[in-house]
Amino acid sequence: MSTASTTLPSAGPAAGSRSFLSRLREGDEIARLVTFLFAASVVLITILLVFELWQGSVLPRHKFGFAFFHTSVWDPVFEKFGALPFIYGTVVTSVLALLIAVPLGIGAAIFLAELAPARVSDTLEFFIDLLAAVPSVIYGLLGFFIVVPLMREYVQPGLKNTLGFLPFFQGPAYGLGFLTAGIVLAIMVIPYIISVSREVLLSVPRDQREAALALGSTRWESTWKVVVPFARSGIMGSIFLALARALGETMAVSMVIGNAPIISASLFSPGDSIASVIANQFSEATGELYTQSLIELGLVLFLLTFLLNGLARILILVTSQRGSGMGNA
């Protein structure tokens, strides 16, 4: 049998003092090898993905270089491709989504973490998690049939009448466009902000709140001025996470944004996003340059979401470490 060792079987290389042969006999080496192969494959698939994106966009990268990012013409006839309208559309809709989702989301998270009794908080969180599970195409369905007519008939004319002097609310009220896409995206990312923010708020140590209350602050003041700032990095992290999700959203956005490569200050204007234009045009892009320009858009999107996800994780980590580190004011 095994030469019993006294090494602690922690999650790590279990070399200990058993011989290779005894490990082999007991199947450990095989298990290690097999699981290693699978783990290595995961890394391989990721590398392959990045490689395909990089290789698949070689033509436009050489032809346009960095001009790709600030050219606003997307002309398949004359083979001029510029990513600016799509970057603009992606950024505008995502920022809009955050402007709506962040106050709502943090507000809801505060309620769930600070005010609601545990059972209510858990039940509501359960529903919020279910909301996060709703697929994009169903948001698109609702967006297209319910939100768009609402925007076209009531909201956009209303905004035009009251705030029409601002450049944001000018132009024809199609119903589709940046504003509608932003609103639909906001609904889609709220659950992420709520669930992560709720967790970081819950992890803020009690003494912070109690200290504030002991000093005579109201419930709201202790929450807003002490707890939330304490959890600030984690909340920022949740916002980045939500942003990363918003950037990559395809179906719901493509169904309500209007699909026109337009850059306009007006939120009523139709536009397009990176993910949406790829979905619409990839299977029919004739010509290598056209196809590869779409792939380059995919590469850009991938890099953006990758950066944001990384930032988000760092921020969430920072908050939880602060929470566990501090215990004495």
Binding site: V77, V148, R152, P172, N259, A260, A285, T286
Partner: protein, 342 residues
């Protein structure tokens, strides 16, 4: 729990096998312009021969051209004939040419949704070009009102809808606009996908008709059957002889009359702005894109068999869906061309 999963897995595998009958499945993709026609044809052909299934996916003519060139589908479909560069790309990739086979005649119509207007409007070529160039922005513009005396056109903004995907319907539309407007020809050009000066994009004929139907003051171009099936109004267009013609079987057939007599061997021809007093100026053939060589003999025979049926019995189904039959001369020429598929 584990036993149940095992049973379920086996059940699925079996189900997969049961559905894996010996039917031959042929995949095609492309134009949305003739999709209602093809969908009906393939359903009827399947009734005739239950062993063959033609799976046609309407992803747009651009998609049809691309996927047949890539070789990921067995046949393509497009209402914009492949240009010389695209033909060369196919030849270079596969070593043999791809052939065009006209199937039906159809028309692009200008459909609109103007509150309070239920009649058919008359449009001049200049008006259409102006609308799509973004120069004519209101419905009561003199260019439109001038040819529609007595109609109460509102002073509303025109919302232009075009295609967001690569489309033969777009090719036909821009081909026509390039012929009647130098401005359009120089600024925008003709292709399955262009840089539109104004408007929103809808995906497929389905998407454009959907958008126009739901958006008041919208105007878009769709294949005739989409406007008819969705009970949407569409306008008459002034042809090269000066008459305002509405798209229908007679006017589309008239547009093809000249081409029928002088059809080139590769069947690639444009019949927009065709001469003839009764011709509808935005008509077009639509083509199946079939490789001239097949490695799979059963697929080749199935496709040839279908095309043969399509040229004969199939033509009887076209008029119910508002597509015009192919002229007799074209049918005869195609039957001969079928033999060159190996």
């Amino acid at each position: 729990m584990k036993r149940i999963t095992r049973i379920l897995l086996v059940a699925f595998a079996l189900a997969g096998f049961f559905i894996a009958r010996a039917a031959l499945s042929i995949t095609g993709a492309g134009a949305t312009f003739p999709y209602p026609m093809y969908s009906k044809w393939f359903a009827e052909y399947h009734k005739k021969d239950a062993n063959i299934e033609f799976n046609y996916q309407s992803i747009g003519s651009g998609g049809g051209i691309k996927q047949i060139t890539e070789g990921t589908v067995d046949f393509g479909a497009s209402d914009g004939p492949m240009n010389d560069d695209q033909l060369k790309a196919f030849q270079d990739k596969h070593g043999f040419p791809v052939l065009h086979f006209p199937t039906v005649l159809g028309a692009d119509v200008l459909t609109y949704n103007i509150p309070g207007v239920t009649v058919d409007l008359n449009f001049t070529p200049e008006a259409i070009a102006g609308i799509f160039l973004g120069k004519i922005t209101k419905w009561n513009d003199p260019a439109i009102a001038g040819t529609n005396k007595g109609v109460n056109l509102p002073a509303n903004d025109i919302y232009v809808v075009h295609r967001s995907d690569g489309s033969g319907t777009t090719y036909i539309w821009t081909d026509y606009l390039s012929k009647i407007s130098d401005d359009w020809k120089n600024k925008v050009g003709k292709n399955t996908s262009v840089n539109w000066p104004v408007g929103l994009g809808g995906k497929g004929n389905e998407g454009v008709s959907g958008l126009v139907k739901q958006t008041p003051n919208a105007v878009g171009y769709v294949e005739l059957i989409y406007a008819v099936q969705n009970k949407m109004p569409y306008g008459a267009v002034k042809n090269s002889s000066g008459a305002f013609i509405k798209a229908d079987l007679a006017s589309v057939t008239a547009a093809a009359a000249g081409a029928a007599k002088n059809m080139p061997d590769d069947f690639r021809v444009s019949i927009t702005d065709a001469p003839g007093k009764t011709a509808y100026p935005i008509s077009s053939f639509t083509w199946l894109l079939i490789p001239s060589k097949f490695s799979d003999a059963s697929k080749r025979d199935a496709i040839k068999g279908f095309v043969k049926w399509m040229l004969a019995d199939g033509q009887n189904y076209t008029e119910a869906l508002s597509y015009a039959k192919l002229p007799k001369e074209v049918v005869a020429k195609e039957e001969k061309a079928l033999n060159s598929i190996q």
